[in-house]
Amino acid sequence: MTSALLEARGVGKRFGGVQALKDVSITIHQGEVYGLIGPNGAGKTTFFNVLTGLYPRDGGEVLFAGAPLNLASPHEVAKAGIARTFQNIRLFGNMTALENVMVGRHVRTHAGVFGAMLRLRSERAEEEAIRRRSEELLHYVGVADRANDLARHLSYGDQRRLEIARALATEPRLLALDEPAAGMNATETAALRVLIDGLRTDGLTVLLIEHDVKLVMGLCDRVAVLEYGEKIAEDVPAVVRADPKVIEAYIGTSAH
């Protein structure tokens, strides 16, 4: 449990005159659920986008499983083994739930144009495997009964789960969830918690960005707090919760 899966060292990001991230270093251990919290605008999502190759970073480096991570493009990051979801759910609305997950298998499969045109035995087998694995994943996250519905027709909570299934389909070693509980009601949040707990039990490492402090504190093994683009704390939830700087950051912002 103690080997580092992901190590970010001194990551910086600047938008024009705004220093959105300043020298952020975090270490995520193999098999843990790692929480990243902070007040609005603290740079959580920016960090997330840098980590998944959406934004180019301005400084620092990221090691993943001991090797430098190629952050040049999001698909390289996915290939390396980091899958993500989006804060404002981004599904392929006019594809079925099942097809959405099948797209996630893309990066781990190989069939090309000619294979698809000729439908050779190996391609048929691969296609069948893609379908089977995707159905399993739908089942795993609990939306198997909606497999043939268009993604945009799913309920909000189901869409969140479907997005997680699509991310899992890429066979990640690190699953990064960007505010997965945003907009969920209490029942949906509780179910999400069970799902993430299950992911940990199954040995997956999870990076969780969340607004819901209660969820993070209850779920995460370790938590880091960002404020104004800087890390102000990183430890187990109990210690972070008692950290005066963290209390200051949260009470400070709520007072404004």
Binding site: H75, K79, A83, V107, R108
Partner: protein, 351 residues
């Protein structure tokens, strides 16, 4: 098209398609020829459908790839250079050259936003035409605006596609032979399209169309996959162009103007982007529009005004333009929209 699902339906459709040219032939060989051009348009529309319908990339110069294929055929099988290669060698060459042209055009532009691609392809269509018009000097490559004449017809063994043969008492004219050839190609292209649609690559295309950012995050190398769509579409255009050159026996830059690109686009949009049968239906309907207009609007105008106020050609373009605008406004998914979920349901039920 649920009636196509049953085996009886398929057999009926098959027989209808087999005897169609002889039925049309009774009304005049011209109608068989018109039907052939309609099938060519279907092929073009299916090619463009990969680009626009699946991958969501607006290509406004698609006819340029058709032109490339046509010129490749014309130059390799006519007295112009004295080359007379057989069609089964030239068609793949044409597809390959068109594919290269598509990649050369797509590589720098596909990483940019979609509207740049639209305008660049629009320009590309014009450039290809300008080159065909002018590459007669100082070395005569394309024969300029006069075009290339006396292009070889298809030959399969002793069968010459330009001549009429009598087979089992039936007169099989050249256009009828081309019809059967085109039908075979069409069936092949439809099968390929369906297979692509239900493949890893096809899903990646649609994913990019739906949300490019999410597609990237899901591990799709969007740039390569888009380029692939562009290259595939271009190859289909190239093959169709080669057959066009052989059937027509003559090519000139005049055949590859912007209006043709617009017509093919209208077929895809009106039929239903992304839906194979919709595109086929849209292409057939729109391919016959000029003929319908010729036989209705012109006589009607002559009867009413004594002369032609609006030429059918102008009316045709007005109809296509309006069709694009109105479809986007009122039926953005086309008249036969893509039904991915329904298809999935049917397949699930069959299991």
């Amino acid at each position: 098209m649920s009636f196509l699902k049953g085996r009886t339906g398929l057999i009926i459709l098959g027989i209808a398609l087999l005897i169609l040219p002889f039925m049309l032939g009774m009304a005049g060989t011209a109608w068989v020829r018109i039907m052939n051009f309609a099938v060519l348009y279907v092929l073009l529309a299916l090619g463009l459908n990969i680009v626009v319908g699946y991958a969501g990339l607006l290509d406004l110069g698609y006819i340029a790839f058709f032109a490339v294929g046509a010129y490749v055929y014309a130059l390799l099988a006519s007295p112009h250079f004295g080359l007379h290669l057989p069609f089964w060698i030239i068609l793949p060459i044409g597809a390959f050259v068109a594919c290269i042209a598509g990649m050369v055009l797509g590589a720098p532009t596909l990483r940019l936003r979609g509207d740049y691609l639209a305008i660049v392809t629009l320009g590309f269509g014009e450039i290809v035409r300008i080159f065909m018009n002018n590459l007669s000097n100082p070395i005569n490559i394309t024969n300029g605006p006069k075009g290339v004449n006396l292009i070889d017809p298809f030959h399969i063994g002793p069968i010459n596609f330009a001549k009429t043969d009598t087979i089992a008492g039936l007169d099989v004219s050249g256009p009828i032979k081309y019809y059967y050839f085109l039908l075979l190609v069409l069936i092949g292209v439809i099968i390929i399209n369906r297979r692509l649609q239900d493949s890893r690559i096809g899903r990646a295309w649609v994913a990019i169309r739906e949300d490019e950012m999410a597609a990237k995050a899901a591990g799709i190398n969007t740039r390569n996959i888009k380029l692939l769509a562009f290259a595939m579409g271009a190859s289909f255009g190239g093959i169709s162009g080669g057959m066009f050159a052989a059937i027509q026996g003559f090519v000139s830059p005049e055949s590859f103007i912007l209006n043709e690109s617009i017509m093919v686009l209208a077929m895809v949009v009106l039929g239903g982007m992304g839906n194979i049968w919709g595109v086929v239906a849209g292409a057939i309907v729109l391919a016959f529009v000029p003929e319908i207009l010729r036989y209705t609007v012109e006589p009607a105008q002559m009867a009413l005004f004594g002369h032609t106020l609006i030429e059918p050609e102008v009316l045709r373009m007005l109809i296509f333009g309006s069709a694009l605008v109105l479809t986007m406004r009122f039926r953005p998914a086309g008249f036969w929209p893509e039904t991915r979920h329904k298809r999935e349901l049917v397949e699930a039920a069959e299991k």
